[in-house]
């Protein structure tokens, strides 16, 4: 049985490679049927924000990769309620079906996985 992996993505989508790299790890792991989860934390929640227009920066769209997660078998998607609230984002408007967790829920989530990587 493979060890389970929690990937924590905490960088905003358009300023550096961090957000895309975390997503690539999740998609690669999903392709190999690894048991993994993806947690959107801190500025990482901006990846889920509505009405983004990457074309205005001539950048590739992260949204397409995000939407591919369920197809790659990555269905354990979580987001921090505190991070959403601090940034004025409502969980109803997000781009993906994610489970919203409070701080207690986050601690339990980290407990549940064998390994954790944070980008």
């Amino acid at each position: 049985m493979s060890q389970s992996l929690l990937i924590v993505t905490r960088q905003a989508p358009w300023s550096g490679p961090g957000a895309r790299e975390a997503l690539d790890i999740a998609l690669a792991g999903g392709a190999f049927d690894l048991p993994l989860g993806l947690l959107f934390l801190d500025d990482g929640v901006f990846q889920l924000a509505p009405e983004q227009q990457p074309a205005s920066l001539a950048l590739k769209d992260l949204q397409a990769n995000l939407q591919a997660l369920p197809m790659f078998g990555v269905e354990a998607l979580y987001v921090s309620a505190r991070s959403l609230n601090e940034r004025g984002l409502s969980d109803g408007a997000l781009q993906l079906p994610v489970e919203v967790l409070d701080d207690v829920g986050l601690s339990a989530l980290f407990e549940r996985y064998d390994q954790v990587i944070t980008l």
Binding site: A12, P13, W14, S15, D42, D43, F46, A49, P50, E51, Q52, Q53, P54, S56, L57, L59, E86, R87, G88, L89
Partner: protein, 100 residues
């Protein structure tokens, strides 16, 4: 001496914005670009702080960075810039302080 303060980092991950707000004096400008435009996100403490700035402070933002991040319902006082406007603003103020 007027200063244009240029912020480009997310206001949720460090204290550049709050430090900068304390330094502003009448006639200064605050230009948001890159992840700093997230300060304009509605319903946040950062947005409230920007709205509370005296009218003597000019609030500017780079339009393409705003649009990429899907920010809407912007404050009325906000002036949107393209890159030529960015250059023009940099020249219009006596000094530019870039918060790298």
């Amino acid at each position: 001496m007027s200063t244009l303060h240029v912020l480009s980092h997310s206001p949720f991950s460090d204290s550049r914005l709050s430090s900068c707000l304390r330094l502003l004096t009448p006639g200064d400008g605050l230009l948001l670009c890159g992840d700093a435009v997230y300060a304009l996100q509605g319903g946040t403490a950062q947005r409230a702080a920007l709205e509370l700035m005296p009218e003597t402070i000019v609030l500017l933002a780079l339009a393409e960075d705003l649009h990429a991040r899907g920010l809407v319902q912007l404050p009325e006082r906000l002036q949107l810039l393209d890159y030529p406007g960015f250059v023009a603003s940099s020249i219009a103020f006596d000094k530019v302080n870039t918060w790298l």
